[in-house]
């Protein structure tokens, strides 16, 4: 059943004008409006995610994939003007328009974001366990032992050595920090996890294990997921369906293997053929 259904998602940086949308996008070949200079990071984006499903979003830099992911994760960028409608299971009205409290509750319990840059997602001074515990404590957990048990459970599931639980996060390797982010995202059993470029900063040898770990946890817990990546391999590994973005627009969507092996759109064909 459908968990999230979004229509007309749009993020614009700058003042914007009446011709922004028609002057940008795939056919225009740019995401910057030639009339007013505003950047249309993403526009006219419709998508849906079902319970337990993984949706991939691929594109190159400037494609708008991160802006789209941030909108879905209810991040607010004070410099951007965001519009659109998100219909979310169990909530009335537009999820993008809810008040601060509701948004905070959603982001604590239902929708989690794994930031591209670790510094945005973790507090390096807290212990690894503390970073994960923060999610639980913000959600109202008040038993120390319960929090410890759950943190340990998450460390095991994300394959972080439990004996490092009480070390400062700044002493962890990049791969371990990424795992802590994932553990933290999964702490309160969210319905949706948004992964923004999950392989950033990871060595190649570490990437595969982290992704495979996430895939296993995702399947076992039935967590829906939106994975944003410029790396087709990442999306191929994790996603059931994929969107291809270019110049702020979705140019193609479909089953991941279909998009990769039978690309329809000219840009997608170029993209697929460019993979080394």
């Amino acid at each position: 059943m459908t968990l999230l259904s979004a229509t007309g998602l749009q993020t614009v940086y700058g003042e914007g004008c009446s011709r922004c949308i028609e002057s940008t996008g795939d056919r225009a070949g740019t995401n910057q409006c030639p009339h007013c200079g505003s950047v249309v990071a993403c526009a006219e984006a419709d998508l849906s995610v079902r319970e337990g499903e993984v949706l991939g979003i691929v594109g190159e830099s400037g494609s708008g994939k991160s802006s789209l992911a941030e909108q879905l994760a209810l991040e607010r960028d004070p410099d951007a003007t965001t519009t659109g409608m998100v219909d979310y299971d169990g909530y009335d009205g537009n999820l993008l328009a809810v008040d601060y409290e509701t948004r905070h509750d959603l982001r604590t319990s239902d929708i989690a974001l794994v930031h591209q840059h670790i510094r945005d997602g973790l507090n390096p001074e807290f212990t690894g366990g503390g970073n994960v515990a923060e999610k639980l404590l913000s959600a109202g957990w008040r038993s120390y032992e319960d929090v410890r048990d759950r943190v340990q459970e998450l460390f095991e599931a994300t394959e972080i050595p439990v004996d490092r639980m009480d070390d400062p996060t700044s002493t962890y390797s990049g791969g371990m920090q990424r795992r802590v982010q994932i553990a933290r995202a999964l702490a309160t059993d969210p319905e949706l996890v948004v992964l923004d470029e999950p392989t950033t900063g990871l060595d190649v040898s570490v990437q595969a294990r982290v992704l495979d770990m996430f895939r296993q946890v995702q399947r076992e817990e039935g967590v829906a997921c939106v994975v944003v990546s410029h790396d087709l391999g990442v999306v191929r590994l994790l996603a059931d369906r994929t969107l291809v973005m270019r110049h702020g627009r979705i140019v193609e969507s479909g089953l991941t293997d279909r998009v990769m092996e039978d690309p329809h759109h000219e840009y997608t064909q170029t993209l697929i053929n460019s993979v080394i």
Partner: protein, 388 residues
């Protein structure tokens, strides 16, 4: 407490008049130009001016030192603070004849609400006799013409630094606490802007992580002062550097607590009968200090907050000037005025001055039904009847 706010008289203002010499010009803000021709004449004029100052100086101050506008602002901030328990209300903190960090907030709060019929007690770390407490008391005596006392049960207003008195306070008493750092969240984030947002949205996750990490490191919450507490289930409050021992006294008390900071320019309050709960985990509870079975060497109390006193043992050997002396550690009540009472009457309960029975306030307050002091066992019982 005072009806200054309703006065018909215009506020008294201070006016200085410096006598002018023949050729010098004087500005009323005190600047005086002196011409070199008439130095001797000038000196006389200046001396006379200074003499005049000494006699006019104090009588030129407004009642209770502060001008009425300042008092009005402080009172208004206090009312706001009372209306929103635990919420920090900014106010324009004035320069005081005391350095910042020495109780300028507390003084402004006290002086704003003292009236000529009030009795004022000042303590610093539990002692009336400390230099700081004495100076503050003297300022109030001189400028507000009030009587002062060391007896907690006899005071209308008590200003305190870092302690709440042992004796139970009543509904016609106010306790003003001196506060160095007003925001409990300062420990977890130095950014005031971010913390204000957190308070606004009751977003205290970071403090809870701080407590979690504390337990990870020490096995229990070992925060000793400025213990984070929830007021009215809504605002996280820093109760000022009072010991944990005193924190339960804030919960469902009969009196008003006012917290004032001069340097940080904030006032907050805990009104009577407010729910105040120290943060703790359900399985790592809040506990007060333990004194390991020690008692006060002067009065024998085992249910008051004790401090260590290091004293020379025995007599000094004056003739031999023996500098190799042994020091022994003894314990003494921190609340010196209550200790003095207990020296007279060791069985004196903390609510001896109240008619009604069964008052249970603060750690180990005797209740009428049991009739005797409970021994300090390291656990606290709050007035709500909550067992720990």
């Amino acid at each position: 407490m005072t009806d200054q706010i309703m006065t018909d008289e215009p506020p008294e203002t201070v006016e200085y008049q410096l006598r002018t010499a023949d050729e010098s010009s004087v500005a009323t803000d005190g600047g005086t130009t002196v011409s070199s021709d008439t130095v001797d004449g000038e000196t006389d004029a200046v001396d006379a001016t200074l003499d005049a100052l000494e006699s006019d100086g104090l009588s030129g101050y407004n009642y209770a030192y502060l001008d009425e506008h300042t008092k009005r602002e402080v009172r208004r901030s206090m009312l706001k603070a009372v209306a929103i328990p635990g919420h920090q209300v900014p106010y324009a903190s004035r320069p005081m004849p005391l350095a910042r960090g020495w109780g300028t907030g507390g003084i402004q709060a006290s002086l704003s609400i003292l009236g000529p019929d009030d009795r004022f007690k000042v303590i610093d770390q539990g002692a009336d006799e400390s230099v700081n407490a004495a100076n503050i008391r003297r300022l109030a005596e001189n400028t507000a013409e009030i009587e002062t006392t060391t007896d907690t049960t006899d005071a209308d207003l008590i200003q305190t630094r870092h302690r709440i008195p042992e004796e139970v306070l009543t509904d016609d008493q106010i306790l003003v606490l001196q506060v160095p750092i007003t925001d409990a969240l300062r420990k977890v984030d130095p950014s005031d802007a971010a913390n204000r947002r957190r308070h606004a949205h009751k977003n205290y996750g970071k403090m809870w992580v701080h407590l979690y990490e504390n337990v990870v490191e020490w096995g229990e919450i070992n925060i000793s002062s400025r213990y984070p507490t929830m007021v009215g289930g809504r605002y996280l409050m820093d109760p000022s550097p009072i010991p944990r021992w005193d924190v339960p006294k804030l919960d469902d008390a009969d009196n008003l607590f006012v917290f004032a900071a001069g340097r940080e320019a904030r006032i907050y309050a805990v009104p009577p009968h407010t729910d105040v709960e120290p943060l703790a985990f359900s399985d790592r509870e809040f506990t007060v200090e333990r004194f390991g079975g020690q008692s006060c060497h002067a009065c024998g109390s085992t249910d008051t907050y004790l401090v260590e006193v290091s004293e020379e043992a025995g007599d000094t050997d004056r003739e031999t000037n023996n500098t190799d002396r042994e020091f022994e550690t003894r314990y003494a009540c921190n609340d010196s005025s209550f200790c003095a009472k207990r020296r007279e009457n060791p069985e004196l309960p903390k609510d001896h001055h109240l008619d009604r029975g069964g008052v249970d306030w603060g750690p180990k307050t005797a209740s009428e039904t049991t009739g005797s002091r409970k021994t300090a066992a390291g656990k606290t019982k709050s007035p709500g009847g909550e067992a720990e």
